[in-house]
Amino acid sequence: MAAKVITVTSGKGGVGKTTNVANIAAGLALGGSKVVCIDGDIGLRNLDVVLGLENRIVYDLVDVIEGRCRLRQAMIKDKRIADLYLIPAAQTRDKTAVSPSDMVRLCDQMRPEFDWIVIDCPAGIERGFRNALAPADMVLVVTNPEISAVRDADRIIGLVEAEEKGPALLILNRVNMEMVKRGDMLTPDDVVDLLAIELIGIIPEDEQVLVGSNQGVPVVFDQKSRAGQAFRNVCARLNGENVPFMDLEARPALFGRLGKLFRGAAD
């Protein structure tokens, strides 16, 4: 095996990076891959909470890098899926405890044993971002359909291109169909039009996502959730499958086009 390293980033905070990492990692593992995720948000860790592994942390990323434990000891095995592991962030240190070359070395060490390494990047464009980007083979940019989040995503995509890690792939998170229909939210078309990168997922707004995060059960396990289905689709696309966007995901684009058609006819 030779793992592919995916870095999930956004620039702006609070758009759902950690939730995406938890769901994509769990989704890939559900699909039979061997997956390890790394919380790159040193000092503000929460991937462990979202995955429900908080009370099993003994060692963390900084312990591995500073040689206080072996890599194996810091990997927490998920309780539900056989092949899902987490390397948690240190809570009592800051981003400077890890360097970009540490991350490259760490990932290279794990590559032979895994199919996927998923890195949760902290918000911002400083050291934490450099750390998370250094080992990446593939970059997923998460954004919300909000002008400020899209602006920051644009900045991040530019930085990813500058580091020759691109082209990044886009996940549009928390799309509210009702608001899109009322014309109160940017449509997926608007966002893709500005950012001009390939879309790999549209995640609908869904209360179950928050419920899942609070309970430590990623929504991707929930067969009935629309967001869960959207995350499973992202995983399938990462595995190279050609999955059409869900009916509900395709709706805004279709409506947009129909709307324009009607407006055109009325003019």
Binding site: S99, S101, D152, D154, I157, G158, E161, A162, E163
Partner: protein, 232 residues
């Protein structure tokens, strides 16, 4: 040991306005880099917290090289602020990584445009950029600038001459910086957040999102920036 037999590249360091300017002697980049890092490690107290401007002369550096160099310095508490070079490749890399390509406080763009406004238009060098400029990117050039791609909100173009955008202009643009009121700005879709020609700031009309007006040209007419729809 390898290190003892390894060829050294001479490293010269001097202070320039709030930064340290590093110049190298002959030798390839990896050796130059190693020699500088060795120096930084040996005199860590001196270098810690410093901003470096590195003159790499004609060496060609790709993003991977320069990114690694920046990271190696930052691990030692030193920040890479700028790269001086005569190589086009290296200059492009530095620009893309958001590093300065001239010394801090340098006014070379303005000086050049002053000098050039007296020269004939044909002699002004143009810069062609074949990609979309994203938020946070800044292009500064003393001559004309052509962008084949979009200029997104948050991106900035500063030119001594004209600016032509073969795409959507939604960011900030300054043409004919300071001294050339004859400069123009053209775009396939003109929706700048900020537009300036010489020292005149445009009053950009607020437009309905999705309104298509087609290609437009901005120029100065009676001390005001006006927008005209492009006609053959």
């Amino acid at each position: 040991m390898m290190m003892d037999t390894m060829q050294q590249v001479s490293v010269e360091i001097k202070g320039v306005q709030n930064a340290l300017l590093v110049t190298f002697g002959e030798g390839d980049w990896l050796l130059a880099e190693a020699s500088l890092l060795q120096r930084v490690d040996a005199q860590n107290a001196f270098f810690k917290g410093a901003r470096l401007v590195v003159d790499v002369a004609e060496r060609d550096l790709k993003a991977a090289d320069m990114g690694k160099f920046r990271d190696l310095l930052s691990e030692r508490g030193v920040s890479l602020w700028g790269v001086l070079t005569t190589s086009v490749t290296t200059q492009e890399t530095a620009r893309r990584l958001g590093l300065a390509t001239q010394l801090p406080g340098s006014k070379s763009v303005r000086r050049l445009s002053e000098r050039r406004s007296t020269e004939s238009q044909e002699q002004v060098e143009a810069l062609l950029i074949r990609k979309t400029l994203r938020s946070g990117m800044k292009i500064e050039h003393s001559g004309h600038v052509t962008v084949i791609g979009d200029v997104n909100p948050g991106a900035e173009v500063v030119a001594g001459g004209d600016v032509v955008v073969w795409g959507r202009l939604r960011g900030s643009v300054s043409a004919g910086v300071e001294t050339n009121p004859n400069a123009i700005v053209c775009a396939m879709e003109m929706e700048p957040t900020h537009l300036r020609i010489a020292d005149t700031i445009a009053n950009v009309p607020a437009r309905r999102r999705g309104e298509k007006r087609g290609p437009e040209v901005a120029s100065i007419f009676k001390n005001e920036v006006i927008f005209r729809i492009w006609k053959k």
